[in-house]
Symmetry: C2
Subunit: 336 residues, 2 copies
């Protein structure tokens, strides 16, 4: 069996993860048992939710055990198989780990994928993967946008946010995105078709509130929230009556103590709601979502940027881009 | 026309209201114009929402103008009338002010009431008024409780909270209330039929979280939230999957800078929602709600405590009881 470089979680981060919380080691790959197969990982998805999996409490998944490789969605090729339905050379996608080789089994989270159905194999980690399905089901089903409504997307230049903005345009909404820095803001309007972009950098809550009011003269009917903190609070101040806030993430709070949402009282004034959303709830409907996303990719040029960094040895730096906002699109780590 | 003692808002409170923000003055009652009628106010409802009406921004209503009498729901008797349908001697209820006499008009917010339909005329300000309708529609329609579910009520010894707890029992739920101090907690279980009571005093968020977990061994399916701050945060940590938080009030935050909800991330983990509720949305269905509350008052002994203070001259002290928690039931001011 081949040598296996594995990116281990060695210590639970206290706030922002530091390099010493992890270790890249080389181990022997264990022999396969019956029903198992070995995957040569080619790409891994790096997602904000992974920060939660590092904590002792876990979130919607159990925590990654200390000393184990960091859990991640990967795509790769079956290298050896003692499992029916998984042949050597077949492309697969699944919840594996940041490592050269992962062992999976029939009935696990790993499924075959067909490279001929997508322009790039990495699209399975973006537009046709959890990211694309989060945008599709989280926005369309949880936020229930209607034609002519105004949609505010935070973390709008991110993988999910940029897709939500495009879906909002396809559904006849005015869409305003919040992102960090002039380059990302330019990307929102020029590439993804947002009607307006707001640069949150250098703006306090009051300035953000005013900027949203100017960009959304008819108020905000839907917020697709990825960030939290002052950005969420500023959005709450601009809600129309009976507005819907789809809570997808709170990336501003994952590494620090939460500052907390201080403007919840405006939910009462506007009779609006905040609803937490998790793509897992829609797993059985992924084929429907992927088909629709494929249609819109063809008919409307629906697109997602992918930011591919190379090398397991840079896994820490690549993961931390998500919190610094220095990635330009869906963050993907090329392993081989 | 009679002399009119009026409790004026003279300055917008900065945080907690102080006596100097108000002034009790005596003015002449103006002559009635055609279509108007004069009400001798007997009772006024004192409600946390009035704090919001004192601020320049207002909330779901415009702010009370400086120098005007403080807006309040009152019940009283028509003293003189130049309005069709309002006869001298008739009992009425409406949105008037803290003053001996109010002038209203046809088509305003004042409606005739029938004292023979209720045990006490003040019940029109409690169980059959906005408070009762908030509990009825806010809990049953917004929170959608199901038989066998666990309901957590904060501010549970308050006017709305104590009714919500009783409605939850009528609907077959396990209901746990949070209140301040042993006396209020005893009232919850002994008088209103709550299954358990938690005294929030002396407990930080972590201790509250643990106390809720112990009182709700199957988790929390519905929160009826009146308080906010650490109490809301502790509730959020105990949510079951797909739980509903009905946001009725945030009384802990009305006089101070909000500390903010720091555990919204658990809405994502549990795919739960927070929805703001305002009884105004259900005005057209009040007759339906009042009829049901009357039925349950008879069949289940549904009850509400009323805390009646006497005298316009004590309006400030009586209003501040709402924030100190020193009222035992729906806060009502007897004017005459």
């Amino acid at each position: 069996m081949p040598q296996n470089r594995r990116f281990l979680l060695q210590r639970r981060p206290d706030g922002e993860p530091v390099p010493e919380d992890f270790e890249l080691v080389t181990e022997e790959t264990p022999q396969l048992a019956d029903g198992q197969f070995l995957i040569r990982n080619h790409y891994a998805s790096l997602d904000p939710a992974m920060r939660g999996w590092m904590d002792a409490g876990g979130n919607y998944m159990p925590p990654v055990p200390l000393g184990d490789a960091m859990r991640a969605s990967t795509i790769g090729v079956v290298e050896e198989s003692k499992a029916e339905g998984f042949e050597k050379g077949q492309w697969v996608m699944g919840l594996n780990a940041l490592e050269d080789y992962s062992i999976s089994m029939v009935g696990g989270f790993t499924q075959p994928i067909d490279p001929s159905l997508v322009p790039e194999i990495t699209n399975y980690l973006s537009i046709f993967g959890a990211v694309g399905m989060t945008a599709y089901f989280g926005f369309l089903e949880v936020c229930e946008p209607k034609e002519g409504e105004t949609v505010l997307v935070t973390g709008a230049a991110g993988a999910v946010g940029s897709l939500v903005g495009q879906l909002a345009k396809i559904h006849g909404c005015r869409v305003v995105g919040i992102a960090g820095g002039p380059e990302k803001c330019a990307r929102l309007t020029e590439k993804y078709g947002f009607d307006a972009a707001i640069d949150y950098k250098g703006k306090d809550e009051s300035a953000l509130t005013e900027a949203i009011a100017q960009a959304c003269p008819k108020g905000v009917d839907v917020i697709f929230e990825n960030v939290g903190g002052a950005i969420l609070d500023a959005g709450l101040m601009n809600l129309n009556l009976y507005a819907r806030v789809g809570l997808c993430g709170l990336i501003s709070e994952y590494n620090t103590e939460a500052v907390g949402a201080r403007n919840l009282w405006n939910l009462i004034v506007t009779r609006s709601s905040i609803r937490g959303l998790l793509v897992m709830d829609f797993v059985e409907r992924f084929p429907e979502g992927a088909a629709k996303m494929g249609e819109w990719a063809a008919s409307h040029g629906l697109t997602i940027d992918e930011h591919v960094d190379e090398g397991l040895e840079g896994a820490y730096d690549s993961f931390m881009r998500l919190f610094a906002g220095s990635n330009d699109g869906k963050m993907i780590l090329k392993i081989a």
